[in-house]
Point group: C2
Chain length 165, copies 2
């Protein structure tokens, strides 16, 4: 299971704090996500990481009220545009297109995704892959507190909801 | 557009004739196709070519009564099982699983797919990619006749229909 908590952040400030924490910079991504309309709690998207010329189909099922627990199936694909056309052919409508710049940092089994999201702002997703959601959230909050993040900084809405508001 | 005509054949006999025609052997495939239930004229499948460890998602729209003209979107994917699980997660039922061995030959812009299909028999698909379906069919029938194939050898049903009968 993928467990992640999203925080609204000040980009420059949090970047310095993540680096000061000892997390190492993994890589940078320029993402374009095409989300298709599927009934919640499901999510369906085709992602392009343009600067790495990598493309993915991702299917998720949200497992909680706060959009923190996800069952996820993701696999790499050869062609972004063809995947988008295939889903349109099957009858799916595009719900939103989200463009973001992402700086990825890692510290042990915790992944920090610092996102600059067009039309939505700056966010930090702290993510852990784990069997036990409670254990994962404990780990996430341990580092979140070290970064000075509080419960009131949590953004429980999905990017797709933030974009479409 | 993908134009193809499917013939019911005697495997050994037609293999010799294809080779005698001067077509060159391209490669061999062990295919496993998972077809999902979608309303016709659409077709949706995930294909594994096990011996080449290649996997594809294919979406087609049948454009004629004889199942010879197809609008096709196909792209390579990294993982067969995850794609199958994704479509199941989205709510698609598996309509059929088709296993076949395929010998591919080429002669100029004509592709010969000689198929040994489990539970259905032996077939030759003669395929041309072209803008103009009539021009493509003329080309197909030109070589088909040289192979001794006749109108009565045509199998207009899809593999998925042959398997499910």
């Amino acid at each position: 299971m993928e467990i992640e908590v999203k925080f609204r952040v000040n980009f420059d400030e949090i970047k310095k704090k993540i680096e000061a924490l000892g997390a190492h910079f993994s890589h940078f991504e320029e993402q374009e996500d095409v989300y298709f309309k599927v009934p919640r709690p499901k999510l369906l998207r085709v992602r392009a990481i343009h600067n790495l010329t990598e493309y993915y189909i991702t299917y998720k099922e949200i497992r909680d009220e706060r959009n923190e627990e996800f069952y996820e199936i993701e696999f790499k694909i050869e062609n972004f545009q063809k995947a988008v056309e295939m889903f349109r052919g099957l009858g799916y409508e595009v719900e939103a297109v989200i463009k973001k710049k992402r700086w990825v940092y890692k510290l042990n089994d915790v992944t920090f995704e610092l996102n600059r999201v067009e039309k939505a702002g700056d966010f930090l997703d702290i993510e852990v892959i784990a069997e036990d959601p409670e254990e994962a959230k404990r780990k996430i909050w341990e580092v979140a507190k070290k970064l000075g993040l509080k419960e009131e900084d949590v953004e429980p809405r999905l990017y797709i909801e933030l974009i479409n508001e």
